[in-house]
C-alpha cells in the first residue's frame, strides 16, 4: 500500500486527499463515521409521524364541527379557539375536570412513591441479605411478570365491592402499590450498585437492618429509583382498564374523563380532541424534563454496561 506522500507526488493533491479520506473511513471500520443525510431523513420522518397526531389534535381542537366536516385539515396552525375549547372541557357538566386531574395526580404520585419504597426495600433484601429460599422466591417474583393478572378483574371487583371501595380511589391505588417489575428492577440495580463493605460498615456501627436500608441502600438506589418512579407514574397516568371498571363518572381519572368526553360530546369532536390534548399535556411536560431519563431507563442495559 503506497503512503499518502507517494500518492501526492505521483497522482496529485486531490487524489491524495481522496485516498486519505477513503483510508480513514476504512481504518475506523465504517462504524464510527457519521451517517449520511438519508439516515437523518428517515429518522425525521419517524419523529414527524410521532408528532403528527398531536399536531392534528391541536388543529381539530381549534376548529368548529362545520369546518372539520368540510375539510379534514381545516387550518395549518392552532388558534385562540383552542383555549375556548379548553375552558369548555374544564367547565364541562358531564364530569369535573379538576377532580379527574386531582385523582390522577393522587393515584400516580401515591403508587409511584409506594412502588419505589417497597421495591427498593425488597430489592435490598433480595440483592444484599442472605436468607433461606431467596433464590426460589426471586424466581417467583420474576415469573409473576409473565402472568396476565389483568384477567382476574371479576373476583377483584367482587373483593372491592365487599370492601365498599367501588368508586373510590383506594380501589385503584391498593392493587398498584408494588409491582413485580419494580422488585426485579431494584434487585438488579442494588446488586451492582451497593457494595457489601458499606453495609458491613453500617452494621458494625450498630445500625439496624432497616436503618442500613434507609441510610445506605435508599440513597445508593436513587438513580434507578428515579427511573422506576417515572415509569410507574406514566403507567398509572395512562391506566384505563381497571379504573374504568372500578371507578365511575362521579370520581373519574383523566383517562376516564377522556372516555366521558367522547360519550357525551361525540357530536362535537373539536371539544373531544381539545380535551384529549389537555389530558395529554401533563405527560408531555413531564417528557420534556424527564424524557432523557426515560430513554436512559429503557436503554439502561446498554448505558450502564
Amino acid at each position: 500500500m503506497s503512503s499518502i506522500g507517494v500518492t501526492q507526488q505521483t497522482a496529485g493533491k486531490g487524489a491524495a486527499r481522496a485516498a486519505s479520506k477513503k483510508r480513514n473511513r476504512k481504518l475506523v471500520g465504517g462504524y464510527d463515521r457519521r451517517p449520511r443525510w438519508v439516515t437523518y431523513a428517515i429518522l425525521a420522518l419517524a419523529v414527524v409521524i410521532g408528532i403528527l397526531p398531536l399536531y392534528y389534535t391541536l388543529i381539530i381542537g381549534s376548529s368548529t364541527p362545520g369546518e372539520i366536516a368540510a375539510n379534514p385539515l381545516p387550518q395549518l396552525f392552532p388558534d385562540a379557539s383552542l383555549f375556548a375549547n379548553f375552558s369548555a372541557v374544564i367547565n364541562s357538566t358531564a364530569f369535573s375536570f379538576w377532580k379527574a386531574f386531582g385523582n390522577s395526580v393522587i393515584i400516580a404520585v401515591v403508587t409511584s412513591l409506594s412502588i419505589v419504597l417497597f421495591s427498593t426495600l425488597a430489592g435490598f433484601s433480595f440483592a444484599k441479605l442472605r436468607f433461606r429460599g431467596r433464590g426460589p422466591l426471586l424466581l417467583f417474583v420474576i415469573a409473576t411478570m409473565a402472568v396476565p393478572t389483568q384477567l382476574g378483574v371479576v373476583p377483584l371487583y367482587i373483593v372491592m365491592s365487599q370492601l365498599n371501595w367501588i368508586g373510590q380511589l383506594q380501589a385503584v391505588i391498593v392493587p398498584g402499590l408494588i409491582t413485580a417489575f419494580g422488585v426485579f428492577w431494584m434487585t438488579q440495580y442494588l446488586e451492582s450498585a451497593l457494595p457489601y463493605e458499606l453495609i458491613e460498615a453500617a452494621r458494625v456501627d450498630g445500625a439496624s437492618l432497616f436503618r442500613t436500608f434507609w441510610s445506605i441502600a435508599l440513597p445508593a438506589a436513587r438513580p434507578a429509583a428515579v427511573m422506576l418512579a417515572l415509569f410507574s407514574f406514566v403507567q398509572q397516568w395512562t391506566n384505563f382498564f381497571w379504573p374504568s371498571i372500578v371507578l365511575n363518572q362521579n370520581n373519574p381519572t383523566l383517562p376516564l374523563a377522556v372516555r366521558l368526553l367522547q360519550a357525551n360530546y361525540f357530536v362535537d369532536y373539536t371539544l373531544v380532541l381539545a380535551g384529549v390534548f389537555l389530558v395529554t399535556l401533563p405527560l408531555l411536560i413531564l417528557f420534556i424534563f424527564a424524557g432523557r431519563q426515560l430513554v436512559a431507563g429503557i436503554m439502561s442495559g446498554a448505558v450502564k454496561g
Binding site: 433484601s125 422466591l137 409491582t179 439496624s208 430513554v295
Partner: protein, 345 residues
C-alpha cells in the same frame, strides 16, 4: 482388679469456657432483626400479589362455575354451563378472531419497523439524545388518547387518512364499517405508541453486540446491509423473541384502543372490532352484567395466553439453544421492563 467395673463415662471433651452472660435485649433484637427482616422486606410484594393477583386469578375459575351476576351476587353452582353459553355466543368467536387479527397487524410490522429504527439509531448520530427522545414521544400519550385521535384520523367521513388516500386516487376506506380496515386502524394505534419504545430496547441490544464482529465482517467485505442481516439480526435474536413473547401477552389483552374507537365502545355495530377483553368487559359490566360468563371468558383467555406463551417458550428454547449468545444481565433487565410496561396496556 478382677472385677470389671463399668468404665467410667469418657469425660466429654471440655467445652471452651464460656462466661455466663446475659443475652442483652438489644442483642436478641439484633439477631431477630437479621433473621426476620429479610422476609419482612419482601413481604409487601408477596402479600399484595397474593391478594390482588393470584387470588383473583384462581377465584376466576370458581366464579366461572357459578351463576353469578353483578347485582344478584353468587348463585347456584352450574358446572360448565357458563362456558357452554359463551361458546354458543357468536360474539365470543368473533372476539377471538378480532383479537388475533389485530395482534398480527400490530406485532409484525411493529417489530420490523422497530428494528429498522434501532439500526438507524445505532450509528454515530449527531444529536443522539434528540432522536432517541423523538421516537419515544408517543409512549407518553395514553392509549385512550391515542384511540380517540386515531379514531378521528381514520374517520370514514372527512378523516385525514381518507383525504390523503383520495389525494393519491384511492377510494375512501370504511374504517369503522369493514372488518380488516378497522383492525388495521386499531393496530396502528398500538404501533404508534410502542414502536419507538421497542426500538430503544432493540437499540440497547444492538449496542451490546461486540464491535469486533462488525470489524471482522468489514474485513470480509460485508457491506452495510450484509452486516445488518448477518451480524446484527442474529446477535439480537433473543431480544426479538423476547419482544414477541411480551407483546403477545399484552397484545392479546388489548382493551383501551377498541373501547374508544367509536363513541359506543361496544366493538362496532357488527362487532367488527370487539376484542376478547372488551367482550369480557361487556359481559361483566355492560349489557349482560353476568359475572359467571365474564369469568369464563377471562379464564379461557388466560389459558390461551399461557398456551401461546408456552409454545413461544418452547420454540425460543429450541432456537436459542443453538449458537445464540446468552443474554447479559443488563439485557434481561431491559426486557423485563418492557414486559412490565406492556402488561397493563
Amino acid at each position: 482388679m478382677s472385677l470389671k467395673s463399668p468404665a467410667p463415662p469418657a469425660p466429654a471433651p471440655e467445652a471452651p469456657y464460656r462466661a455466663p452472660r446475659r443475652v442483652g435485649f438489644s442483642q436478641t433484637l439484633s439477631r431477630w432483626d437479621v433473621k426476620v427482616s429479610p422476609y419482612l422486606y419482601i413481604s409487601p410484594f408477596f402479600i399484595l400479589f397474593a391478594v390482588t393477583g393470584l387470588f383473583p386469578l384462581v377465584y376466576t375459575a370458581v366464579v366461572s362455575l357459578h351463576q353469578w351476576t353483578l347485582l344478584g351476587g353468587q348463585g347456584d353452582f352450574v358446572g360448565f354451563q357458563n362456558y357452554i353459553d359463551v361458546f354458543n355466543q357468536p360474539n365470543f368467536w368473533k372476539s377471538l378472531r378480532n383479537t388475533f387479527s389485530i395482534f398480527l397487524f400490530s406485532s409484525v410490522p411493529q417489530v420490523v419497523v422497530a428494528i429498522a429504527i434501532a439500526a438507524l439509531l445505532d450509528q454515530n448520530l449527531r444529536a443522539r439524545t434528540f432522536w432517541r427522545m423523538g421516537v419515544l414521544l408517543p409512549y407518553v400519550v395514553a392509549p385512550v388518547a391515542v384511540g380517540l385521535i386515531f379514531g378521528r384520523l381514520f374517520a370514514d367521513q372527512s378523516g385525514l387518512i381518507n383525504a390523503w388516500l383520495g389525494a393519491i386516487g384511492i377510494d375512501p376506506v370504511k374504517w369503522h364499517v369493514d372488518v380488516i380496515p378497522s383492525h388495521i386502524a386499531i393496530a396502528s394505534m398500538v404501533n404508534f405508541r410502542w414502536t419507538g419504545y421497542n426500538a430503544l430496547i432493540f437499540l440497547a441490544a444492538m449496542q451490546a453486540v461486540p464491535r469486533e464482529l462488525y470489524e471482522a465482517a468489514i474485513i470480509d467485505g460485508a457491506g452495510r446491509m450484509r452486516q445488518f442481516f448477518s451480524v446484527t439480526v442474529p446477535q439480537i435474536r433473543s431480544t426479538i423473541i423476547f419482544i414477541i413473547i411480551t407483546s403477545t401477552i399484552g397484545g392479546l389483552q388489548i382493551f383501551d384502543e377498541p373501547r374508544v374507537y367509536d363513541e359506543y365502545g361496544t366493538g362496532g355495530a357488527d362487532k367488527q372490532w370487539l376484542t376478547t377483553t372488551l367482550y369480557l368487559y361487556d359481559l361483566g359490566w355492560g349489557t349482560q352484567a353476568n359475572f359467571g360468563r365474564a369469568a369464563a371468558v377471562a379464564w379461557l383467555l388466560f389459558i390461551v395466553i399461557i398456551a401461546i406463551g408456552l409454545v413461544n417458550f418452547a420454540i425460543t428454547r429450541r432456537i436459542s439453544s443453538g449458537d445464540a449468545p446468552k443474554m447479559t444481565r443488563n439485557q434481561r433487565r431491559a426486557y423485563a421492563r418492557a414486559n412490565a410496561a406492556r402488561r397493563n396496556r
